[in-house]
């Protein structure tokens, strides 16, 4: 699984530049749709970095879950709430931007000095590489069995919670008969029945 050193360095450079550029685009671009697609670029670049780290299973899981599920979910959410409105400018917004940039730069400087000054105990053993799937499976069903089952319960809870939160609310009972009078119309809030036609009118 070990490529030559030069190929590793070059592909690491390309992938990290792609990833950081796309991440800056996600944060700074005006259009939220472009941000969502660039987020997919970030995820794919990180999957490539995982391949450089001898973790093919996690790279495949990253592509499947993040690009295939999370990014598509975000695109659907953008489609559902895509209201073209100009945000009201906040007074003294530049103070917040400057303060945040200073804090982020400070955190990055702190982390960099910590990373570069710590003597890491680099192990010289050969990486698991292609056998990583077997090792991960052994961990899941021996010493990480309880977190594994808890994660499945948490996913079930998130599924039910997302359905309950995103479900449309019904009208209360006194309005029910009035809404029932109009045949072929579900007793829902009427403004939610045409959520897409409003986007063109509100500009």
């Amino acid at each position: 699984m070990n490529l030559a050193e030069g190929v590793q360095i070059v592909s690491f450079g390309i992938l990290s530049v792609m990833m950081l550029g796309a991440a800056i685009g996600v944060v700074l671009l005006d259009s939220i749709v472009y941000s969502a697609f660039l987020l997919g670029g970030v995820f794919i670049s990180i999957a490539g970095l995982y391949l450089l780290l001898n973790a093919d299973f996690i790279a495949a899981a990253q592509v499947l879950i993040y690009v295939g599920a999370v990014n598509v979910l975000i695109l659907f959410a953008i489609m559902l709430v895509n209201k073209r409105q100009e945000f009201q400018p906040v007074p003294r917004a530049w103070i917040r931007k400057a303060a945040t940039a200073a804090v982020c730069g400070g955190i990055f400087a702190l982390l960099s000095t910590m990373v570069l000054s710590t003597p890491w105990a680099i192990s010289s053993a050969t990486p698991a590489g292609d056998a990583s799937v077997v090792v991960i499976g052994l961990h899941f069903f021996s010493d990480f069995l309880l977190p594994f089952e808890l994660a499945s319960i948490l996913l079930l809870m998130a599924l039910i919670g997302a359905v309950v939160l995103a479900r449309r609310e019904f009208l209360p009972d006194d309005d029910f008969e009035k809404a029932q009078a109009e045949a072929l119309k579900l007793p829902e809030r009427p403004r939610e029945l045409v959520p897409s036609g409003r986007n063109e009118t509100v500009k």
């Binding site: 944060v27 001898n54 945040t100 982020c104 996913l155 997302a162 939160l165 609310e169």
Partner: protein
């Protein structure tokens, strides 16, 4: 290839995520910034797993758990954004002040 390169890239990605988290007006973009930060942490875990613990790769196990939690978080977070959009008719973070003093 060294461990430090990966850690530096992950730190940069984490800082970009913090900046986006604080400065975004759109609620969906805030969720995207949270995903960026989670991915930076994942990259850290994978780098440690490969360079410090290459035989019993426990960092990869943690990464799998973080990916599962992130997927659940994205689903619930986007459902909350949808519910807020139905109630307030906007996705501007500055106007979500129901619980703000």
């Amino acid at each position: 290839m060294q461990l430090q390169y990966f850690l530096l890239v992950a730190a940069a990605l984490f800082c970009i995520g913090i900046y986006g988290l604080v400065n975004s007006r759109n609620a969906v973009r805030v969720l995207m910034s949270i995903e960026l930060m989670l991915n930076a942490v994942n990259l850290n875990l994978m780098a440690f797993s490969n360079y410090l613990d290459p035989q019993t790769i426990k960092g990869q196990i943690f990464t799998v758990f973080v990916i599962a939690i992130a997927a659940a978080e994205a689903a619930v977070g986007l459902a909350i954004v949808l519910a807020i959009y139905r109630n307030r008719d906007t996705v501007d973070m500055e106007q979500f002040n129901l619980l703000k003093w």
